[in-house]
């Protein structure tokens, strides 16, 4: 690869640059959208301030169910963040070039969700002001320390993987975006790192990107495996599982893929990028979603059939709660509408067209969120020893409005980060799309 020379088609470049750079920039619609999000976020932050002052008593969590929606939401965010690795890492390394137009969107999602995941976990802490203790007194034996380390590392790697391929684009944009505000040009100038389109620079960029997409794979595996271990290292029924790592990882691919499809569909329509985010691309994304759904389904089968077959005392209670008990509705909703039906219908091409796929992805992502809830809460509701002499409302977990608001705040924050990044920088890699030779991506690798 060292003697690889990139060839860019100038005409193609001009067209792509014009199309892709057109939606860039903070227009009025965007500012209104951000104002709306900010107002909603302020309300959510207010909810958090109440929680901070009064303590976690304002949540539905109590001594028995001591982890609730926050942890479920955290798992969801970490899961979604994993898509950056799936697209750029796994699929990219395998040499598929169709991912080119969506790599940056996937990285935006990865960066946004990984960053917010870190905040979500802080909102669950009883003493958030002591966060620094984790670094001062950290115990290497605690999965929380691993999680903090690996989330940080993943966030850094994802950010680099977002920023590095952006460098040539920013250099391209600097010459073309004549009406952009000064600060934006200044930012582009800083982030384009003296990019002169020098062949040696391209060479360096290729090797750096290649290293990143190799590095992101073990890091992403680690981030979600460790997150699953937050639950799996406990001996409670429902968590005490040896396949929790891969079970979570495959689940994360499903969630992340759905998030990417939703984002791509949005940019296709709102940014008028139909030409690049075209139907064949959606077909490919649909197939990939189908593929990860099948794997996830397989892990679900293992996770539920084996304990349901043996019916060990506490496993039996857990299985009963999920299949026919209080959590049955949510469980079957997430399994049937969030996994089973998408998995089946995606086999047919018409369902892999943009709009149907977008709708399916919505179901999948809502199902995925519910699934995380189902993984965390029912297990906490039936500990090994009976719950007695506690106030009745302490026994069963019911999320409160404040908890809902803080959780909504995290989602709003995630959307805000994605919105800003998608308006600040081009969402499709211009130079990669303008390459003469379609096989370049393969050659990098």
């Amino acid at each position: 690869m060292s003697d690889h020379n990139i060839k860019i088609n100038k005409e193609k470049l001009d067209k792509i640059a014009t199309d892709v750079l057109r939606p860039v920039g903070f227009n009025n619609a965007f500012i209104n959208w951000m104002l709306f999000l900010t107002m909603a976020l302020v309300a959510c932050i207010y909810a958090y301030v109440i929680q901070y002052n009064k303590g976690l008593i304002v949540t539905g969590m109590r001594d028995m169910v001591s982890w609730g929606m926050y942890i479920a939401n955290f798992v969801f965010f970490v899961a979604t963040a994993l898509v950056g690795m799936l697209i750029s890492g796994v699929i990219g390394l395998l040499g598929y070039t169709w991912i080119k137009p969506i790599t940056r969107i996937a990285e935006i999602i990865a960066v946004a969700f990984a960053a917010v995941a870190g905040l979500v976990i802080v909102s669950d802490m009883g003493r958030p002001e002591r966060l620094l203790n984790v670094f001062l007194y950290g115990r290497v034996q605690s999965p929380i320390l691993w999680d903090v380390t690996v989330v940080t590392t993943y966030l850094v790697i994802s950010t680099l993987l977002y920023l590095l391929p952006l460098i040539p684009d920013l250099a391209i944009a600097r010459g073309r975006m004549l009406h952009a505000p000064k600060w934006q040009m200044k930012l582009y100038e800083i982030l384009s790192f003296n990019w002169t389109h020098h062949p040696k620079q391209y060479k360096l960029l290729f090797s750096a990107t290649r290293l990143l997409i190799i590095l992101i794979i073990p890091t992403a595996f680690a981030i979600h495996t460790v997150t699953s271990w937050l639950l799996a290292v406990n001996s409670r029924s429902g968590w005490d599982s040896t396949i929790f790592g891969p079970y979570f990882l495959t689940g994360a691919f499903v969630t992340g893929m759905a998030a990417v499809i939703i984002a791509v569909f949005f940019f296709r329509n709102n940014y008028k990028l139909r030409q690049y985010l075209d139907e064949p691309l959606f077909d490919k994304m649909g197939k990939l979603l189908e593929f990860v759904c099948v794997i996830y389904f397989y892990f679900n089968l293992n996770e539920f059939v084996v304990p349901a077959y043996k019916m060990k005392e506490f496993d039996a209670i857990h299985i009963h709660e999920l299949f026919a008990g209080r959590h049955a509705v949510m469980f079957w909703l997430s399994q049937i509408f969030g996994l089973l039906i998408p998995m089946i219908v995606l086999l047919w091409k018409p369902f892999r067209k943009p709009l149907p796929l977008f709708l399916i992805a919505l179901f999948v992502i809502v199902g995925a969120w519910l699934k995380r809830y189902i993984i965390v809460i029912p297990t906490m509701e039936h500990p090994f020893l009976p719950i007695q002499f506690l106030p009745g409302e302490w026994v069963i977990y019911q999320p409160t409005v404040i908890e809902g608001a803080v959780t909504a705040g995290s989602i709003i924050l995630g959307i805000m980060i994605i919105s800003v990044l998608a308006k600040l920088f081009p969402v499709i890699p211009i130079w990669e799309m303008a390459e003469e030779d379609e096989g370049t991506k393969t050659k990098i690798i």
Partner: protein
């Protein structure tokens, strides 16, 4: 549902009461036991304190009838006639020994304490007239100063307790007196074997198998006491002897373990974690260095032909 169970339980209790509440028979030799001293107000006072701490939970306030009726056999109100009809000796015996739901208090309370409690309980009985015990006759002349000695007999493998009495500068062994031997433990004294009576030489022997754990040097703190305090007064000997098992058990947090502090974490986890983090961040810094090279390259002059774009 709960109400149903409650009724059921009360019925069961009632039936059980009939069958279980057999009379608590106090052996005849304990019936007539009497306090060696006349009850005083201060005795009543300290008896009230002990009662509040130890007895009230089940017996309630005397005279209030608020004892725990659910218990079988019923604890009863100490001020009630049934309770007061016990002799002082009978109450003393019942408090000391306990039965079923009534715990034994002979270790928790000293004999004086028990008499204090009895004096308090009797204060609720207007018609009670106290009798005090007559001086117990012993075979030792009055004015004798009793002393206990304690040593370990290597040959006999026994702990030897000697009782002597001195009167007018003459010291003689005292025989026929019951001795109990105890080992000091952190929260109380552990009785070692039964009560032994001193022989003619004033000696009592307690067999010793050496299995009693001592401190880190094998020292055990032994206490010998004359059993019949009423007759002989408190006579006690304490001695620390190096005859116990050496306690060489390590601290419970000595080993490397997952739950221990960082410096005692399993080595594989220390190296695994730091190794993985160091590797990842080595590459990250390497990448940042690459970015710097891109930046430096940008300062090199470049012709339009050379440019890719």
């Amino acid at each position: 549902m709960n109400k149903f169970f409650l009724t059921l339980i009360i019925c069961v209790c009632a039936v059980l009461k009939l069958s279980a509440q057999t009379e608590w028979v106090v052996p005849a030799e304990h019936q007539g036991k009497l306090s060696p001293v006349q009850f005083t107000e201060s005795m009543q006072q300290s008896g009230a304190d002990i009662f509040a701490a130890q007895c009230q939970v089940c017996h309630g306030m005397p005279g209030q009838g608020n004892y725990n009726a659910m218990l079988v056999p019923s604890p009863g109100d100490p001020a009630a006639q049934k309770f007061q009809s016990n002799t002082d000796g009978a109450i003393f015996y019942k408090v000391s020994e306990g039965r079923a739901t009534m715990p034994s208090f002979k270790s928790a309370l000293s004999k004086a304490d028990i008499w204090n409690v009895i004096s308090y309980v009797r204060s609720f009985n207007a018609s009670y007239v106290q009798e005090t015990a007559e001086k117990i006759e012993t075979n030792i002349p009055e004015g004798t100063l009793l002393a206990l000695g304690l040593r370990y007999d290597e040959i006999k493998k026994m702990v030897e307790v000697s009782l002597t009495g001195s009167l007018n500068q003459v010291t003689n062994p005292v025989g026929g007196v019951g001795i109990k031997l105890e080992a000091k433990r952190y929260f109380g004294n552990l009785p070692l074997g039964d009560i032994k009576t001193t022989n003619k030489e004033g000696l009592a022997y307690f067999s010793w198998d050496g299995t009693l754990p001592g401190d880190s040097l094998g020292n055990v703190h032994l206490i010998a006491q004359v059993e019949q305090v009423e007759a002989y007064g408190e006579v006690k000997a304490e001695q620390t002897l190096p005859i116990g098992l050496v306690n060489d058990k390590p601290a419970l947090n000595k080993e490397r373990a997952m739950w221990n502090t960082v410096d005692k974490a399993p080595l594989w986890i220390i190296f695994g974690f730091t190794g993985a983090v160091a590797t990842a961040w080595f590459f990250i810094f390497y990448l940042l260095f690459q970015v710097k090279r891109i930046f430096v390259l940008g300062k090199e002059p470049i012709t339009e032909e050379e440019k890719i774009i």
